[in-house]
């Protein structure tokens, strides 16, 4: 791979019963590139959690995945409400998910901790009232 590969997705904020499609597509793409199952799994989990968060908490957004020989980078950008207290949001068990999505199995407050756990680096840029951009990397070397 000499040039970076970039995948772009619009993540629909309306439909959380079938959310996760961008992550499923990325998994497929990474498989075709012949990456190891463990790397693919880490990227899939981190991206899914971020994708779902954009749908549930921010009304949707965009996802960009960049692949080169050194790393896979996932950038998730939304124009939702932002995160007031990032430190608190990062804690296992903290969730503001509404009841209707809790009944689908979301709202354990484990999404952001999973994203941290399965990536090598994670950066949250968030402004209350403007939105959130999360950048994660999984290193390949």
């Amino acid at each position: 791979m000499s040039e970076d590969l970039v995948f772009h997705f619009d993540v629909d904020g309306e439909n959380f019963t079938s959310a996760g499609q961008a992550s499923v597509q990325v998994k497929k793409n990474l498989r075709q590139l012949g990456l190891s199952p463990e790397i693919i799994r880490r990227v899939s989990i981190a991206m899914y959690e971020g994708e779902i968060n954009m749908v549930i908490h921010a009304g949707g957004g965009v996802a960009d995945v960049r692949v080169n020989e050194n790393y896979i980078e996932i950038v998730l950008e939304d124009h939702g409400p932002g995160i007031k207290n990032v430190e608190m949001a990062m804690q296992e068990g903290y969730s503001t998910a509404p009841d209707d999505v809790r009944s689908l199995g979301f709202g354990a407050g484990m999404g952001l901790p999973n994203m941290k756990r399965y990536t090598d680096s994670m950066k949250i840029d968030t402004v209350v009232g403007e939105g959130t951009t999360i950048t994660m990397r999984v290193n390949l070397v």
Binding site: F16, G20, Q21, S23, V24, S44, G107, M110, P113
Partner: protein, 108 residues
């Protein structure tokens, strides 16, 4: 043990697009982010949740099959999605604990 072996032990197929997939271990849970973070690749995942997100989680966490406990089953559209995505789904009348006990015996 392969997923299709479970059919001989009281589990019923909802859809088995990948019947020869090997099962290695079991994870029980209904909260999707717990399953995402803690289930291991190739685990059989026992749950009572049956919405579309279960199929995405099973795909991405790479579990070998979803086992719906307590007689839960899938609406047709979700079953079709599982089939298209290659996600094995079974159902059993047993509660999660008892289903896990059966698997525990079989996985020795």
């Amino acid at each position: 043990m392969t997923v299709e072996k479970l059919l001989e032990h009281g589990f019923e197929a909802v859809t088995l697009p990948d019947p020869e997939r090997e099962i290695d271990g079991v994870y029980i849970g209904d909260l999707l982010s717990w399953v995402m973070g803690r289930a291991r690749s190739d685990n059989a995942w026992i749950t009572i949740m049956s919405n579309m997100n279960v199929i995405a989680v099973a795909t991405l966490a790479d579990t070998s099959c979803v086992i719906l406990a307590e007689g839960v089953t899938l609406p047709d559209d979700i079953r079709e999605t599982a089939e298209a995505k290659g996600v094995n789904v079974l159902t059993t009348q047993l509660p999660a604990y008892e289903a896990a006990m059966v698997l525990s015996g079989l996985l020795k």
